[in-house]
Symmetry: C2
């Protein structure tokens, strides 16, 4: 048993579903907050639980470098290491290798790259990326792919897509041969020390079926070429995965192109498997993509914007650093029920940001995540009611001053 | 009505009491966490409430510079501004002017200093420091004093003490004439805008007596000279305050000297008024000073040490950055019930610190505050039982490696 996916409601192309994992259920469409190095920057895990986060994304590349896969594996995988009992997805490391490494060298075998931390040389192959992700033990892991750069001509996009397809085969082969090595697989001889198993935080979940394993998703590439996207989708499906992601977006292309590629690619993906668009987007965009039939999305935007004082509200974006909020006694978002909006004033949030206080990041992140999760809750509700419209977040468009 | 203080239990020189303020009750002896610019760095107010914090200390000097007294006053004072319904104490600004300003110029009238933020020139007098503290609206405010440097010869210590006494008189006079201007005094014409009064977060507390005001504490100085301390105490009492602080400690003197000055000065302070030692100390020290009869203490140590990865535990100090904790699956402190020790491993806390993650500061601060508050709870419990011993925090002395 790995994951199960049930579509429970439809509205046009959109669907509301339920994804069952070894670490809990996920209502889809779902937005996955990003916890790069096993932490959503500034937010304790109990607060994430209270916000209703059902699945987190964590980055294999970063965790591989620090603290290292073996450390995480010995703590029972990411769930034990970061004390997060709910579902986790890890990316394959491919995107970070491409985006953080100007000196990377791609060969048929894999990618040589240098650590952004200390410049040390490293190598990722489909096999080593799978091994890392099995050791990290997320519920959903991703095939190792090449994220095609933008712009890329057709020949380049096709060559890159072919490489991703060969890597997808190798990823699947390695995964099938080694999937029982996941730290929380109960048929495995224990990887936990006696000290750990005595500690309830690290005990394996005895409710899990004995043969419980991770799920592997394939990634569709093909640049901005719709014919290549179709071919990539069909051949990735042929290899066979538990779910399908659309990669290679948010790499600099116009947003209209992003939408077009998503819409065109979705047509070629199976309806009975989860569909995941990687690395998107604004609240408007995630609502829109959900309306197209996307089930899963992740993005650093809500957390990163929060650290820069950019807050998403039902009345539009608020740049909390602005002097106009210095004596604004009102809540950040009068229509938001999060604990930030229920307690603090804009003046206080502005003061924290202007004073470079850590609490600014904590509270801003909490609100932005709450706003994203609320947006997805509204979207799911609309779909459940069969409403094709009504997906947009409760925005009034208000021009930025 | 300002504050009431009731001693409810004694053990030797120590006393357990209850301090009633306009914003809640405080069990004494109490440790007051420091929230310099109206935030305990990294910890949301609801978490402070859950930790059982009954009173916070905030710094007049910092708030005066940013966001400015007028902004805080217009938000209903610090309680409204930072959305903290429990008690607050502000210092007079004197200590920061002395410790953060090498170019300060002291005259009979007051102190000229430069902002550490932008170098702009400012002036604090007993009157302006009182005016600032009335505008900030803490429950307990402090007379403006000169913190005598260490070392200081007898003549210098005496001259400084005399200045502090003259400033104490001026502080009291200004306070008595202006105390009804506190933002939450209901006999005042409203300083809140209609927008604010419509917002329940900023409504004044209608349960407060109409004439509810702040309390002013005097500060005993006199350097390390016990005779001067006695004279300072007696003459400060003569002026008459709601409570008495021992200032001018933790300025570089040996810790044994600190204890000696505290013990000697306490003898000359009234037993029916709260006694506050400013700016101390380690968990062992706050337990010890409580045993001498101190009722209130504050210190940046638990919060500042947390930011440097130095954690106080029942097994001694832990420097969480050390590589020895990289794969330590155990809790930070097996005898601690805080939400950090109940959920996370040392390995995870070490990873957060090593990765320079903001959550490291958040969780480390939460634990250290919890440890300090637990220490004071144990001290109060021992005093209530009449136990003269048993004040020490549950430390096993363990040498630092």
């Amino acid at each position: 048993m790995s994951i199960e996916f049930h579509v429970e409601g439809r509205a046009g192309s959109a669907r509301a579903g339920r994804l069952l994992t070894s670490h809990g259920e996920i209502d889809t469409p779902v937005f996955m907050p990003v916890g790069t190095v096993a932490t959503v920057k500034g937010v304790p895990q109990d607060v994430l639980e209270e916000l209703g986060v059902q699945i987190l994304l964590s980055n294999t590349y970063h965790l591989y470098l620090r603290p290292g896969v073996e450390t995480v594996r010995q703590m029972g995988g990411l769930h034990g290491f970061m004390a997060w009992p709910r579902a986790i997805l890890t990316d394959s490391g491919g995107f970070q290798v491409f985006s953080l490494n100007e000196l990377r060298k791609v060969s048929e075998e894999g990618v040589t790259f240098r650590s952004h931390l200390d410049g040390s040389p490293h190598f990722f192959s489909p096999e080593s990326a799978m091994q890392a992700q099995i050791g990290l033990g997320a519920d959903i892991i991703m095939a190792f792919d090449e994220c095609t750069e933008y712009p890329a001509d057709r020949a380049r996009a096709k060559a890159s897509m072919e490489l991703t397809l060969r890597w997808a085969e190798r990823s699947k082969k390695f995964f099938e041969e080694h999937k029982s090595a996941v730290p929380w697989n109960r048929s495995q001889s224990s990887v936990l020390s006696s000290q750990q198993t005595k500690n309830p935080r690290f005990a394996r979940n005895d409710k899990l079926p004995v043969d419980s394993t991770q799920s592997l998703f394939g990634i569709v590439q093909g640049g901005m070429d719709l014919a290549l996207r179709k071919e990539s989708a069909e051949r990735t499906i042929e290899i066979g995965f538990h779910g399908y992601a659309i990669g290679g977006l948010s790499v600099g292309e116009p947003r209209e192109r992003t939408r077009e590629v998503i819409e065109a690619t979705l047509e070629h993906l199976p309806t009975d498997k989860p569909r995941y668009v990687m690395g998107v987007g604004t609240p408007e965009e995630i609502a829109e993509y959900a309306s197209l039939g996307v089930d899963m999305m992740d993005c650093v935007l809500p957390t990163r914007a929060a650290r820069h004082g950019l807050l998403f509200t039902s009345e539009g974006k608020v740049s909390i650093k602005q002097a106009r909020y210095a004596q604004d006694a009102g809540p950040l978002d009068p229509n938001c029920g999060c604990r930030v909006c229920q307690r603090y004033s804009r003046a206080y949030l502005r003061h924290l940001y202007a004073s470079n206080e850590v609490l600014a990041q904590v509270l801003n992140t909490l609100h932005n995540l709450s706003f994203y999760l609320d947006t997805m809750r509204r979207v799911r509700h609309s779909i459940s009611l069969g409403e094709e419209s009504g997906f947009s977040p409760s925005f009034r468009s208000r021009p930025e001053p």
